[in-house]
């Protein structure tokens, strides 16, 4: 039986490794870890003690225990403990140093297949779809005597998506050493297109039904799609930190949804600034029947009551207040 004790870089590579061959006499072996030079494994970490911990290997079991340390051992689950039974190769921490213990009896994870299918054709296809949508969008507005700036718009969109994907690519290269530009481009284009499709469907729904809420939820939908896109980028670029980052992304997304709503309520006493759709789709898409003139009268009454409530709430208050005349 062979054991190895490794000090890991934060990207997972072993910086230092000591191998312990099976002791012939079956005597328990003790491996001492700390900053002092008389340890078996010397770590250069200011948050480690001179004699921080020791691993006792006996047969096919290994136990880690703290020796003379205030920081203790940080178990793989993140909790500080004084002793830890080692039965897998999940890294634990002493101070800021990650340490992994491996045993040749423990199962190894299977080999991961290399990604054989290239991603760039998909990424470029998606980019093509983005271009197609943008061109369509400008063409819809191409109704005046002056042609809109098709090329500038397309160049701007590609520059934006390219820059966005490059940032994640660079980030991924820095933290995990992999470079996956086309993956990130595909993710960015997918996020963009799914946002467009969702908003279009919401518009159609609003036109068909005469409901206002599909338009009012545009902003939260955009935020959710954006958060999902960022999630995909981060999981690809920095998979080891995603478990922690997910909370940050969720928090930012939640704030991006809640803050505008709360501000709208504080400033204008309503949840959404959108009170009319102004959208027009093909007449065949309209499903909601027209209302009667009495329904519109009821609508007016409802609006009157709402403005009256608003007036009572926003009263400037100086109508009945007595201010003494200025003696001047």
């Amino acid at each position: 039986m062979t054991w190895s004790i490794e000090v890991l870089h934060r990207d997972g590579a072993a910086l230092q490794r000591i191998l312990i061959a099976d002791p012939a006499d079956n005597e328990p072996r003790t491996v001492r870890i700390g900053r002092a030079l008389d340890n078996d494994l010397i770590v250069d970490d200011a948050h480690c003690a001179a004699h921080h911990a020791e691993i006792v290997i006996s047969g096919d079991a290994a136990t880690l225990s703290a020796v003379a340390t205030v920081n203790g051992i940080i178990a793989p689950n993140g909790k500080a403990v004084r002793a830890l039974a080692l039965d897998n190769d999940k890294p634990f921490k002493l101070g800021h140093t990650s340490i992994r213990v491996r045993c040749d009896r423990w199962p190894l994870a299977p080999e991961l297949p290399l990604q054989t299918r290239p991603v760039w054709p998909l990424a470029l296809l998606l980019l093509g779809l983005v271009f197609a949508h943008e061109s369509w969008d400008i063409w819809l507005k191409d109704v005046g005597s002056q042609r809109p700036e098709y090329l500038y718009t397309l160049a701007g969109v590609s520059a934006g998506l390219g820059a966005w994907s490059s940032v994640y690519t660079l980030f991924g290269r820095l933290v995990s050493g992999t470079q996956r530009f086309f993956h990130h481009l595909a993710i960015a284009c997918t996020g963009f297109l799914s946002g467009i499709v969702l908003l279009y469907l919401l518009d159609v729904l609003a036109f068909a039904s005469s409901w206002l809420w599909p338009i009012q939820i545009h902003q939260p939908v955009v935020v959710v799609v954006g958060a999902a896109t960022v999630r995909a980028h981060l999981r690809l670029a920095d998979p080891r930190h995603w478990p922690g980052l997910r909370y940050a992304v969720a928090l930012v997304a939640a704030l991006a949804i809640v803050v505008p709503i709360a501000q709208q309520w504080m400033s204008h006493s309503r949840w959404s600034p959108i009170e009319s759709t102004g959208i027009l789709k093909h007449p065949a898409l309209r499903l909601a029947p027209p209302v009667s003139i009495d329904d519109i009268a009821k609508r007016q009454l409802e609006l009157k009551n709402r403005t009256d409530a608003l007036k009572a709430k926003q009263e400037d208050g100086d109508g009945d207040v007595y201010y003494p005349d200025n003696p001047g």
Binding site: L212, S269, T277, P283, V291, I293, A297, Q300, D316, D325
Partner: protein
């Protein structure tokens, strides 16, 4: 355009010049030369000189001061009409000169100055918002009678010489000679047309005849006209004195202003539905009402009658690929309430959009953009609450529309609202009509009644 001698005067002027230019462009009319800022006054004739010397001590400069700064917030002119001895003299000026005081009495006070540079305090005793008049009472002064002007009880004849007096732009009291040119026909309130110069700060000053009798009160000028000024006929002054001279003193005027505005919109509504009482003034016969008009092949509801002005324009300069014909009508009935707020106006806009050479998706995509053609926009004013809106599909006689209704309440006057309604046709991919109706300063019942009638006429 009301002559406001205030800090905002320049801003207002630039705005009016811009409007004038816009109107000229809109109608493809001959370009009107931009009016000069200060209209030079003709040299006074001998009678003018004598009149000024004789009556200048009856003139007053009215200053509304902000209490907290003790500096002027607005300026105007005025004149003594009655001396009640110990109770103090009564003087007349424009409502718009003292509107800020009438609406926020604790923030402002009135100070008056005579030609002799003596100043005194004055209080507001009556307002006539519709005719833009206010009656003030000067604090009594010991043993000093106020010289008054006599108010004429007959209307001058067209062509009769009148002399406008006042203190424009704080340049000192002056006299401006001009000719009375009859009553203005297209307004709901009587206004006398005076072909003479009236400048900012002369508001509220008297326009007197050869005998020194007040024939009218300076009130406003047309900024894009040359010497087109307006006077309030003197009989409204007489009526105001009768009504207000012995009224109990009060500090709170909002309810009174609100009452007058409410009466005004009730009159407009009655006129619209042909229910107005017998005419009480000469142009009281002025007509207003809905009528149907052709916009290309479509029947649209517009305003009819002598109080209405309509303008039409097309997008012929902008784009030959589709057609947008626009018709805007408004009822000239609005009343100045305070800076930035008027009440009692109706506006109707129609735009007919034709697809012509556009593809169907392009024409449909213009739907949301096309509100610009109806003039359907709202500016936020501190005097109105936030708007509250709702949308419904509505079927007119022939077509289906998406009707957006928005409502705002007047914050300082109870029971008055602004209702804006826009209807966008949604059942045709080749042409569509966009219609807007704006009712500003109406009671809810009247706004509802007018808009219902409007919807019933929708084709």
């Amino acid at each position: 355009m009301i002559v406001l001698a205030t800090f905002w005067q320049r801003v207002l002027k630039i705005g009016m010049l811009a409007c004038a230019t816009f109107a000229a462009l809109q109608t493809n009319a001959q370009p009107v030369p931009a009016p000069t800022r200060e209209v030079s006054l003709p040299a006074p004739s001998a009678p003018a000189r004598d009149l000024f010397a004789k009556y200048k001590d009856r003139l007053i400069q009215v200053r509304v001061l902000l209490n907290s700064a003790s500096e002027q917030s607005s300026l105007g002119s005025g004149f003594f009409v009655r001396d009640d001895g110990d109770k103090g003299a009564l003087l007349v000026t424009n409502y718009h000169v003292v509107s800020s005081l009438a609406i926020d009495p604790h923030k402002y006070r009135i100070e008056i100055r005579q030609t002799s540079e003596e100043s005194a305090k004055a209080t507001l005793v009556a307002v006539d918002v519709l005719n833009d008049l206010a009656l003030l009472r000067m604090a009594p002064r010991a043993a000093k009678a106020a010289p008054t002007l006599q108010v004429r009880d007959t209307m001058p004849k067209q062509g009769e010489k009148l002399f406008a007096l006042g203190n424009p732009m704080e340049l000192g009291f002056l006299i401006s000679e001009g000719v009375f040119n009859g009553l203005v026909e297209s307004r709901i309130n009587d206004h006398m047309l005076f072909s003479g110069a009236i400048n900012s700060g002369m508001s509220g000053g008297p326009a007197i005849d050869d005998y020194g009798r007040v024939a009218g009160v300076n009130v406003s000028v047309l900024r894009d006209g040359q010497l087109l000024s307006f006077l309030v006929p003197s009989r409204f002054v007489t009526a105001l004195i009768e009504r207000g001279a012995d009224a109990a003193p009060r500090k709170e005027w909002r309810s009174e202003i609100g009452k007058q505005l409410t009466a005004h919109q009730a009159l407009i509504t009655a006129k619209l539905f042909g229910e107005a009482p017998a005419a009480t003034n000469r142009v009281g016969d002025a007509k207003a009402g809905f009528s149907t008009q052709k916009l290309d092949t479509r029947d649209v509801t517009t305003l009819d009658g002598s109080l209405t002005k309509c303008w039409a324009n097309a997008n012929d300069g902008d784009s030959p690929r589709y057609r947008a014909d626009t018709l805007r009508c408004s009822l000239k009935s609005e009343v100045f309430v305070r800076r930035g707020l008027s009440s009692g106006s109706i506006a109707i806009n129609h735009s007919l959009l034709r697809k012509d050479k556009l593809a169907t998706p392009q024409f449909l995509a213009m739907g949301s953009v096309a509100r610009q053609f109806t003039g359907y926009f709202r500016t936020h004013s501190a005097d109105l609450t936030d708007s509250r809106c709702g949308e419904d599909y509505f079927k007119g006689k022939l077509h289906v529309y998406r009707v957006t209704t928005c409502m705002e309440a007047f914050r300082k006057f109870d029971g008055l609202y602004r209702l804006s309604m826009s209807a966008m046709q949604v059942d045709d991919v080749n042409e569509r009509i966009l219609t807007g109706l704006t009712l500003n300063g109406f009671s809810f019942d009247n706004a509802q009644r007018i808009s219902r009638d409007f919807l019933e006429r929708l084709q």
